[in-house]
């Protein structure tokens, strides 16, 4: 099976300072796999994600390397074509669910809007699809949620809605940038269950985190990033059982939750 997404020698630097943030990262992910990216704050994890989703302002950053999705380089694609891919085949779950929704429009309207950008459906049909998707993710009162404003819902609910929203157009790959960091432990567990379901349904996941516990539960492969460089990569067993690099060992030792792989 070919690589679904392949990052080749990706480098990002601030144009004004010319200081590199990400220095030649390469990794790849196959369909249905879960890749974990771990590293401390400021190591360039989020920048990598944003570069993959073409969210970086080209005037502020110089980006070199390739982001190959289905044998096409996203970085060389015109914006319009990338916009068509975003949401439909490539989706992303953001770090802070509380700020990731437009505060003045209802959840339902936002789901309907997302659907109608990519699909020719009527507003009513889109609303039904949205409510159905929310039910699938465990909202018994999906219609009430659809008619709520973001500030009326909790962070955990919003994060689940964001997951539903990212799944709604059945993408092939979802990037979760610290999707559990802003949530309490209990809600984290619920979100992780949702990720497991995604994994089982064959969606490839890129999970960015600084929490080994999350990776232990989900990831197939792990790459460890430090100061914008990949210091170690391997399967989740290799990384957890016999870390080679001193930084990986340090990170592992700093983690309270160690080696707790629940689903093998």
């Amino acid at each position: 099976m070919d690589n679904l997404l392949e990052i080749q020698n990706l480098s990002i630097s601030l144009r004004q300072k010319n200081s590199p943030i990400v220095k030649g990262i390469s990794f790849s992910i196959r369909g249905g796999q879960v890749l974990g990216i771990i590293g401390e704050s400021g190591s360039g994890k989020s920048m990598t994600c944003r570069a993959i989703m073409s969210l970086l302002d080209m005037r502020r950053f110089t980006i070199s390397g390739k982001v190959i999705f289905h044998e096409k380089n996203l970085l060389a694609m015109p914006d319009k074509d990338v916009q068509k891919l975003l949401g439909t085949r490539l989706a992303m779950i953001m770090q802070n669910p509380m700020t990731a929704f437009d505060p003045i429009s209802k959840i339902g309207a936002q789901i309907v809007e997302t659907l109608r950008i990519h699909k020719r459906v009527s507003k009513r049909d889109a609303f039904e699809i949205g409510a159905h998707e929310l039910m699938k993710i465990g909202f018994a009162d999906a219609y009430r949620v659809m008619n709520s404003y973001p500030h009326e819902l909790s962070g955990g609910m919003l994060q689940r809605i964001m997951i539903a929203l990212s799944m709604i157009l059945s993408p092939e790959i979802i990037i979760a940038d610290e999707a559990t960091t802003a949530l309490d432990v209990h809600t984290q567990a619920i979100i992780l269950d949702e990720f497991l379901k995604m994994r089982n349904s064959g969606i490839a996941l890129v999970i960015v985190t600084h929490n080994f516990g999350v990776l232990a539960k989900l990831a197939d492969n792990v790459i460890v990033i430090k100061d914008g460089e990949v210091v170690e990569e391997g399967t989740v067993y290799q990384i957890f059982d016999s870390p080679q690099h001193s930084y990986t060992k340090e990170l592992l030792n700093a983690t309270v939750l160690r080696r707790e792989r629940i689903h093998a």
């Binding site: 990731a100 809007e113 950008i117």
Partner: protein, 272 residues
Amino acid sequence: MLKKIFRNPQAVIGLVMILFITLIALLASVLAPHDPMAVNISMKFLSPSSEYPLGTDQLGRCVLSRIIYGTRYSLGIAIPILFFLAVIGTTLGTLGAWLGGWFDRRLTIICNIFMAFPPLVVVLALIGVLGQGILNLIVAIIFSMWVWFVKVIRSYVLIEKNKDYVVASEIVGCNSAQILLRHILPNLFPVMIVYFSTGVASIILMISGYSFLGLGFGTDIPEWGAMLNAGKQCLYSKPMLIVYPGLCILFTASAFNLFGEALRDILSPEEV
């Protein structure tokens, strides 16, 4: 939103005052007892009577009628000016902040150049070139004020465009127009309303100020500032000729200020 307005006494008072002024402006021809332009020298400087409730001015014109028609002029000039300023400010400010790059840099430079001149100087120069006239005054005020609106809107959009939900809407594949029109501008709407409604007050003051200086209006036109200007010649003998239009300006400006500031109080806690 509406409930909150009705619960805030300041907003209610401001709103009632604005409605009152608007009604007077709309019904001016019904309410005014006389033709505001009708000159009758033999009846000049009459004291208030049942025929002329507020007396007559130096040319024998009914002061009450002139004040009632003055509402029309003040609102009728201030609101179109505000409309154009809002349109120019929103379009250019939003585009500048959103596009960035050379467009934004050039826009900022132009704004800074315009801001280096006080509006009064710009208006004086423009009226001098274009000549007197209501239309010329409108053009001159818009020309002297537009940069302030552009700058304010631009800075609002700059703050808003870096918020997470804008990134989120990019992620789901919205294009720039959709993000701007459906997300950023609707979110800025409350702050913009506040800015514009306090803007009305300052524009009304500005129009009156300029016409007091003799810019823009002929003496026959019953605009409050122009009436002040005409009345200052007989300040000592007939002080009321200045007091009436002055009170009207005060009333109108405070109406819009009260409402605008109450709106700010109502809307700002939710922003945080």
